[in-house]
Amino acid sequence: MVDLRRAAAVVGVHEHVTRYAPDKSELQIQGESIIKALEDAGLDKGDVDGLFTASMSVRNSGLNLADYLNMYPKHVDNTTVGGGSFEFHLAHALNAIYAGRINCAVITYSTLARSGGVSVGTGGVSRFGHPRLDPSPDSFEELYGLTTVGLYAMIAQRHFHQYGTTPEQLAEIAVAVRHHASMNPEALFRDEITVEDVLRSRVISSPLHLMDCCVITDGGGAVVVASPEVARSCRHRPVWVLGTGEAVAHQGAGKRDLIYVAAKQSQGPAFAGAGVTQADIDMAMIYDSFTITVLETLEDLGFCEKGEGGEFVSGGRLKIGGGLPINTDGGGLSSNHPGMRGIFLLMEATRQLRHQFEGTPRQVPDCKIALCHGTGGALGSRHSGGTVILGRD
């Protein structure tokens, strides 16, 4: 494989901090975010020649966005594979930059899941605003009352059965992520919680409690990715793309091995491309739609053996100061989860690698290499996984 290390860098990020935006359009949030992310990079409209986006609510999102922005991208990509789409976008932007097609790409997303009253987790799984496609598995799922929470709950139940994982261990993940949210003034929920708080919250779909589930917010943001030449002229030191991997999982034609997630397939190319191992990762942004998502992803990324995730996440390992700090912005479990969350993983990893929080408890000490893993779709049925490894010089 071609060595793509440092062939592109994240040079600008902006998280639209709104968690509730009833008076804005999705496109407006994206437009505002792009302006701010370019400011962060020290670039402007004329520098951007690639456009990457995904949407939960509109088809042809790349077309609509290019029109709204009055932009003529040389490369447009609206790969939409669920919440982890943005890790895919970064990998695709890297390829396009390496190929010399573009020099600077914007990845952007927004949604109004909260003000729109979208039942992201507790409506039917195909109720994401897209029309029913047939023949599709929807006709063999919807009629049984599948929900997103229900699918993840079934995965958790099987993990409990097969490996002895406990609700207390899942709760440890929510506790660690909330601890990080307590340090993020923008997070939706900032009060520290205990394992008992999680277990006392109501059961949505057994064995998952309310606090095992992510929040629902509005929001969005933008990430600017650029060639090494452009990156060296930007305001911040480059956050290099070191390795990427992408996968879709759980096909099997009815013989799905649901105990593994797409991370098992996507992590190999990412680590091999980056030339690093799990032991080199200083912090990780792990898609946390649910606590079980984090546990299975950590196992399949190779941070521990399959089935040992419950023990791995216990004892504060996932907190800053622990062995593998994750989701230092408060994650989807506590900070924000506007329908799809993968873009925020890239932003927080970039902040940490810039040492933006130096001198505060939120900074992962001496952070040099970070891993982002986005999960899209739903574990238990069709889902995607995108792994990205980022590093600073």
């Binding site: 507790t122 047939d134 009629l143 009352g145 099987r158 009815g254």
Partner: protein, 135 residues
């Protein structure tokens, strides 16, 4: 016929045989004459060996609960009135399908539990396969 307010499947060419059989109280699954593999959900090609026109066989209708969840919150009509059991059932033939476990207390459901198919008539065209504890 009682009012059916749950979602209904869309019947298309490649799934019609499945739903026609359900209406007769029979669970059909696809079995490929080329590679000998079973598949679920039904589709117009064998997804294992990529040949066309996989054949149909009657499943025994018996299986076990591979995993399940008791769902308390779902805004979908028909599922918004109290808990129900959503399960992934592994059929004797080896394929797994989503269904609900019915005719038992949700607290009695467990992984590995033996179940068998039962049908409920939704409309004149559609009967839906569910699973109940094996008798």
């Amino acid at each position: 016929m009682p009012d059916w307010n749950k979602p209904l499947p869309t019947v298309v060419g490649e799934t019609r045989a499945y739903w026609d059989a359900c209406r007769r109280g029979q669970l059909l699954i696809q079995h490929c004459g080329q590679c000998g593999e079973y598949q679920f959900y039904p589709r117009g090609i064998c997804a294992h060996c990529w040949t066309e026109n996989p054949g149909w066989v009657a499943a025994s209708g018996k299986g076990t609960v591979w995993t399940y969840t008791v769902t308390y919150q779902n805004r979908t009509p028909g599922f918004d009135q109290g808990p129900y059991v959503l399960a992934l059932v592994e059929l004797e033939e080896g394929v797994r399908m989503f269904s609900n476990i019915v005719e038992c207390d949700p607290r009695e459901v467990s992984i590995g539990m033996a179940v068998e198919v039962t049908f409920q008539r939704a409309t004149d065209q559609i009967s839906v396969p569910y699973f109940k504890p094996a008798g």
